[in-house]
């Protein structure tokens, strides 16, 4: 482990408050450092997802703000260091870097810039800069410009070989006008251009999106919102492949009426197959309509119903065919279903999935009953579910039943609070196609401990599950697990707000019918979380 990473972190922690000592400036920092020791054993240990041996994880975050004349500023810096490749392939990396300055009319931000224009246009973070003009009390529109690169992490910016990704350069401009408080509308133009293919199979896009979105409140309790976007994109699917151009549109409209006793929402969305949003969020080739009604029938009973419909292959060009989905659902939540039981609560729901087209036809039913109550000192939470999966083209024909119940209690013993818990679960699946049955049983015991005087909390949980398969030649499996988490705020660290010493330990033992697959995992993590 390299201690110089830690030294850098603590130097930063020490130096930053000095910079914040000017009048009106604020500075906050938080730091978490932990060691983890993992051990795996057994012939099947290669299946474990843990890293063997001793590893560390250091997470540092700094935040500050202040005033310089008419300008206010703030900044955020975050960093992470680890020597566990499974936690991060990079030893040291920036997790956030942002600075903002404003005089309440002009706002400039650099670093991590997340200007969320609208769902289809820009809904991701950029590494770059943004400028916003907004003058309150005038009819002038709010104008936002943004430029940067859509990298998932900072290491990608300096093209670190371990985390390098395609270079996606982005630029956008948004003009938003608030007409009278009831209605605002925005126009956005966003472009994204990919370069720097890493593998010959990497797809590179050159896309532009032009979007209009609005929000309108015609009367109290009723809101209408919508968005319409056009995309003009070019795709080079792989190295040497000719660039293919496509144009598409996407639109969504939502109407929400919300006032007791009802909340009604109606949604419609249409995203053409050729619509592409490099920086927004969209599921292409989908037409969707949705209605949902939540009705408080009384102080005790709330009924929720909904219908979701969607289909694909909007242009008929998908050779696999068109798939249509109907998803109706209804549920009722009842407080005090038994008048004599003041803590009783029941929730019953039925959901149906109908999917057909493209050579397949499926109808799945989901039923669920949840009941919560308190019996003396015991809080109980019980869930019973039945699912029927039925796809006619020999894909799935199965019945599944799941049951879970938990009992929790709370006992005070002097200055210590004990919270014992028991969980029982079972899952049963009958596959009619293969004429096989799978059964899963699970139980666990838990004990929580709170000692407010000693500023200590802890939670211990242990249990076992067992999967039994009837198919000949397939492996049954079982897992024994135990987990401990303990968090202590000693007086020694009281000068640091919210400083916590923590210990987490886990043990998992996996057993299979084929003994060559068996393995065990032991993991212990100890650390300190401090902030001020």
């Amino acid at each position: 482990m390299k201690t110089n990473h830690l030294a850098c972190a603590f130097l930063l922690l020490a130096a930053a408050p000095l910079a914040a000592q000017e009048a009106g400036a604020e500075f906050h920092a938080s730091n978490e450092f932990s060691f983890t020791q993992n051990e795996m054993s057994g012939p099947g240990k290669a299946a474990s997802s843990l890293s063997k041996g001793l590893n560390y994880l250091e997470i540092l975050n700094l935040y500050g703000n202040g005033t310089k004349g008419a300008w206010n500023y703030n900044y955020t810096v975050g960093a992470k260091a680890t020597d566990d490749d499974r936690s991060d392939p990079k030893r040291v990396s920036l997790t956030s870097l942002q600075g903002r300055v404003t005089n309440n009319i002009h706002t400039l931000a650099v670093g991590d810039v997340f200007e969320s224009f609208s769902q289809y246009s820009l809904a991701t973070s950029l590494k770059g800069g943004s400028y916003r003009f907004f003058k309150e009390g005038t009819r002038l529109p709010e104008i936002t410009g943004v430029f940067g690169w859509a990298y998932p992490r900072w290491d990608s910016v300096w093209k670190d070989p371990l985390t390098r990704s395609i270079n996606r350069q982005a630029a956008g401009l948004r003009v938003k006008e608030n007409f009278n408080g009831d209605l605002w509308a925005g126009l956005s133009a966003v472009s994204a251009k990919d370069t720097g293919r890493l593998a010959s199979s990497d797809a590179l896009y050159d896309a532009k999106n032009y979007t209009m979105d609005f929000n309108y409140i015609p009367m109290p309790g009723l809101t209408a919102a919508g968005e319409y976007s056009m995309s003009d994109s070019g795709l080079s699917a792989s190295a040497g492949a000719a660039k293919v151009s496509a144009k598409g549109t996407a639109g969504r409209f939502e109407l929400v009426g919300d006032a007791d006793p009802s909340r009604v929402s109606l949604e419609y969305e249409n995203v053409e197959p050729d619509f592409y949003s490099a920086l927004g969020s969209a599921t292409p080739d989908r037409r969707k309509a949705k209605a949902r009604w939540r009705y408080k029938a009384s102080k005790r009973v709330t009924v929720t119903s909904g219908l979701l419909w969607y289909r694909n292959n909007l242009d008929g060009a998908n050779s696999a065919g068109t798939t249509r989905n109907w998803k109706p659902e209804i549920s009722a939540a009842v407080k005090k279903p038994f008048a004599s039981r003041p803590y009783s609560f029941a929730d019953v729901s039925y959901k149906f999935d109908r999917k057909y087209g493209a050579g397949s036809s499926g109808a799945d039913h989901y039923m669920n009953l949840n009941y919560r109550d308190r019996f003396g000192a015991l809080d109980s939470d019980t869930n019973l579910g039945y699912t029927l999966y039925k796809t006619k083209t020999a894909v799935r024909d199965a019945k599944e039943l799941n049951f879970n119940t938990s009992l929790n209690s709370r006992h005070e013993a002097g200055s210590v609070v004990l919270k014992p818990a028991v969980n029982l679960g079972a899952w049963y699946s009958r596959d009619e196609l293969s004429e096989t049955t799978d059964k899963l049983y699970e139980y666990s015991l838990g004990l929580g401990l709170e000692a407010p005087g000693a500023k200590l909390t802890a939670d211990l949980r242990a249990g076992q599950n067992r999967l039994v398969k009837s198919a000949a030649g397939s492996d049954d499996s079982k897992k024994f697990f135990a987990a401990l988490g303990a968090y202590w705020r000693p007086k020694l660290l009281s000068k640091l707000n919210d400083s916590t010493l923590f210990l987490r330990a886990g043990f998992n033992e996996y057993g299979f019918s084929t003994a060559a697959r068996n393995f065990r995992e032991k993991s212990v993590t100890a650390g300190l979380n401090a902030s001020f």
Partner: protein
Amino acid sequence: MKKIFMLAAALLCFSGAADAKWWIFGKTGGEIGLKYLYVNKVSADEAGAKMTVFRETLGPDGQVKITGKASVGKSAVGSVRISLDDKATWQDVKFSENGAFEYSFRPEPDKTYAMLIEITDTAGKTNKVDETRKEIVLSAENIQAKVREALDSLFDAYSRENLPKFMAGVGEDFAGDKGILERAVKRDFDALSNINMRYTINNVAAGGQGRVFVSITYNRMVLVNKTGATSTDSGFTEFVFHSAEGKLSLYSMKQPLMFGLSDAENVATGIVQGGGAGTLVLDDSGSLGTGQLVSIACSGTNAPAYKFSTGEKACGPNFDIWFYEAVNGIGYYNTFQAKEFTGPLSDLTSSEVRNLSGYAGGGNIAPAAVGNSYCFNQGADFYCVEPASLPATGSFSVTFRVKKF
């Protein structure tokens, strides 16, 4: 599409003049109240009784901004007052002729501001003040801590297969549709057990509209109930969270997906740059859609061998199938019959794999090619493999995807 928008526009125009508000079941627009209220651009209607704001989502001036509009029916607004201490003191708020108002204050960390708004019309009638009550708290935690809390809760609920707890962390406005995600996660829980997931945060950015962008490195292991095999994968992925109801709720996910693996196409809204499409995707039958990735390395010229039912690996002709160099193909045990398909596993449908026409015995398929699929049948069982790399002289190792149909 245009017709829909025209219809919607007509409906809205009509609604502005309508008196009977059927969609809100009897509530009229004539009551004195708030037409809308936003706290730092987050709608108070969508938030719970308590709203937590973070330093990173405040403006650079460190202030919480409250914007709203008073509604007084046919009357006129006489005054707008705000209390931040549960009615102990009141402050007048400037408002415009149409009732729009704005108020800002600089909050102290961890102090709870019990906010109420009083609207009075010129006739002296007031709104139901208690209905406007919201508790506003500036969290002393930084946004990364809050992101970790939200992710921990989602990962924990998913690992314990607790659907109500998981869905409590998903926003109503989830971009891929909350209803689709809920059913997909339910199917995930039926298909998987012993879910073991870990993550570390790569990047966090808080932005406009109360949204927070998060990039993580993940690492997970699951047991697929249908096959009894374990599968692991790791990589990068991204989330966007929405800050509302005093916590962060999930707004969107990209591929590779962490949750909703049973309907990845509809749940995900995009693919992470450099993240790939994800190796864990569940198909309609509850199996791994892209197949489980298996690597076997052998010394000398021992052919890597594999047993479908248990996932056991060996070196030398053994078990159900074994791999030679490309030209010599794939050997298989004499109780199996085999069939070759052009194209990857993800292109295969259950009905074409289970169609026995074209299957033949013989113990060997040669040559074998990377990217094609080879299916093996024994009794009612059908397994297919897609080699990603085949043994070569000097390196008798193989990587392939395997899937049960």
